[in-house]
Symmetry: C2
Subunit: 215 residues, 2 copies
Amino acid sequence: MTKRKQTTVTAPGTAERDQRPPIEAIRAAAFAQFAERGYPVVTVRDIMKACGLTQGALYNHFKSKDELLHDIIASTQGELERLCLQAVAGAGDDPRAKLAAFVRVFVIRHCRLRIEALVANREIGWLDSERVADVRRSRRAIRDIVVSVLKEGVDRDLFDPPQVGGRRDLKAIAMALLDQWTHVSMWYGPGRGVSEEEMARLYAEMALRAVGARH
Amino acid sequence: MTKRKQTTVTAPGTAERDQRPPIEAIRAAAFAQFAERGYPVVTVRDIMKACGLTQGALYNHFKSKDELLHDIIASTQGELERLCLQAVAGAGDDPRAKLAAFVRVFVIRHCRLRIEALVANREIGWLDSERVADVRRSRRAIRDIVVSVLKEGVDRDLFDPPQVGGRRDLKAIAMALLDQWTHVSMWYGPGRGVSEEEMARLYAEMALRAVGARH
DNA sequence: GCCCGACATGAACGGTCGTTCAGGAGCAAT
DNA sequence: ATTGCTCCTGAACGACCGTTCATGTCGGGC
């Protein structure tokens, strides 16, 4: 089998002891490895070697490899939810401004913390069912923020989104937009000569057009 | 460890011999398992048991588990590329019609064959590097179809897409749109009461708006 | 009847996995 | 000096991995 051997995510063979508190060193090392190679093929031994410890030491800080993944995902996801709420709340009264602010925060975060976002989106499936429910709840909450902004815009006649089958499916539109914003993290890189700020403006403009925002 | 045991993807404990030619039975079983649980955690034994054979028989039909995955992904990806080309070619001369036709084909396919799409998009990372290059080339080709349609629309003054930093980044716009269309497969289900046809129309409308198509 | 190719079997190989645990090191409080 | 606590070590465990291979079965051509 081709098992995708470790290609050294930090320094070559070093493996010298991380100076941070061990629990944080483990989190950081695990995160980097999951991002690069994916949860199921990263072993506990890989993670611990990367922060200069041996496999057994993991279990002084986490109950299992599974709990470690959940710890990482849940913290980035929680932070994202908080940021989204805050963006909408601080954008005044106009739904157009709310939507623009939301897109800006969401896209910039997914550009800047693209690795974090990538891990949270890709590895969620490996969590056991109760832990995964927790993350999904947060995702739904974020989607509902978008839906409520759209709904407000429609009610106040500021948005005119496409209709399908004679009625508006705001949930589908929100999902479509969120898919778009989320997956910047899959291909954006500063090497393209486009700043995060510019990406955010591009996506905001596309979103406002897609929902038929009045000028 | 919690390894996500097999939850019986077909019948319970049956494991009776599939009546198709074995190579197709293997493909089908592998596909179903990869879709449900992900490539790295599905074992050769799982796949072969699902079609009523034992582990060794796999190697009469495929060189390795890796080749089996590539076989599955490459065939769906190739078919998708073909469909996209055909859609644009058969849509006449107007870039707006071309874009609409492309979205229609792409979205309907991702709704209908959502499992296939999901596997092709999610498991690609497990292929070894030469095989993955093959699939990525096909993806780039599809993206370039979109870019060329956008470019034609802009040149003929039929599209007015958002600008970023004073110039148009058609590649970024194409990526953003493709992300949106691709990921319908992650959440669409006929249970929502929206048909594939309606989804396609919704996405086409959003795309035309986003790129500023003139009426 | 005999042979051959195609294909399935299932034990076996060498390896890796997540996790456990007895033992030891370091250090602060007694 | 002794105790007790936290933390790390590394061998060990049992399970399972992808793959190989000697062996067996079976159907069709001579």
